[in-house]
């Protein structure tokens, strides 16, 4: 399946994955982040239940200290 991750096409195996599986597959380990799927903000406790399917749009924002 193909999703749009931060405006770029990304391919993953299978028909669907959870947010947590996507983070693991991409080795995104940085802890402070915001994830949106199709415009909806996904809370951390939803990472293991929220499913991402073919054609979905995922936006991810890393939060860096400094300001």
């Amino acid at each position: 399946m193909v999703i749009t991750l931060n405006n770029r096409q990304e391919e993953f195996d299978g028909d669907s994955i959870t947010v947590q599986e996507m983070l693991d597959a991409k080795r995104f380990t940085f802890r402070m982040r915001i994830v949106k799927v199709n415009g909806r903000f996904i809370r951390k406790e939803e990472y293991i239940t929220q499913v991402i399917k073919d054609g979905d749009e995922v936006q991810m924002l890393y939060l860096m200290s400094g300001g």
Partner: protein, 195 residues
């Protein structure tokens, strides 16, 4: 539209700023000069000498509450902006009351965990309300890496989204100031489209 028309339009709106450090103090400065009607600013910190390398405070204000000093400094600009400054540590409970009437909220913290807490709270309380984050502005140079990204549904981030502060990558006036100005500039752009 001339400047008077623009500032008259901006005078009808309230912008919330979470944090009065490098981002918040300089963003507030740009918005007050532009004629924003009201700024709601929250911070719990006092001014440390190390803040003077980038924050809109002065040597004789070291030890003062940031909210108090910022209100004084903004008043000296002589714009019509009303400044409501809260000396408080923001949490999910008080964010919902302090920023309730703000048309736009600007995240201006330094700590990543506070940035995340604010974003989670605002996106849950008011999905679709403009939220302008700052992420990645440490060090110097590399002006071309600083940008605005639109994440959809009125969530924006200003910065390079990469550089995190450390001993070798300190926050400094130019890059923090650029990002603070980007946040103010985007807020004005969004407000000018609002009725």
């Amino acid at each position: 539209m001339n400047f008077t028309d623009i500032s008259n339009h901006l005078g009808r709106f309230t912008v919330g700023i979470a944090g009065a450090g490098g981002l918040g103090s300089n963003c507030a400065l740009a918005l007050a000069r532009s004629g924003i009607g009201r700024l709601v600013i929250a911070d719990f910190d006092v001014i440390d000498r190390s803040n003077l390398n980038r924050q809109f405070y002065f040597a004789d204000q070291v030890g003062m509450k940031k909210t108090e000093a910022l209100r004084m400094n903004l008043d000296r600009i002589g714009s019509n902006t009303r400044v409501d400054a809260f000396n408080i540590m923001l949490n999910p409970g008080n964010i919902s009351t302090i920023f309730k009437d703000c048309q736009i909220i600007i995240e201006a913290f330094d700590r990543a965990d506070m940035k995340e807490m604010l974003a989670e709270t605002v996106l849950t309380l008011w999905p679709g309300r403009p939220l302008i984050m700052g992420s990645g502005m440490a060090g110097y140079g590399m002006s071309e890496t600083l940008k605005v990204r639109d994440l959809g549904d009125n969530l924006y981030v200003c910065g390079d989204e990469q550089t995190e502060i450390s001993d070798d990558l300190p926050p400094m006036a130019p890059r923090v100031g650029i990002v603070a100005s980007m946040q103010a500039n985007l807020a004005i752009e969004l407000l000018m489209k609002m009725e």
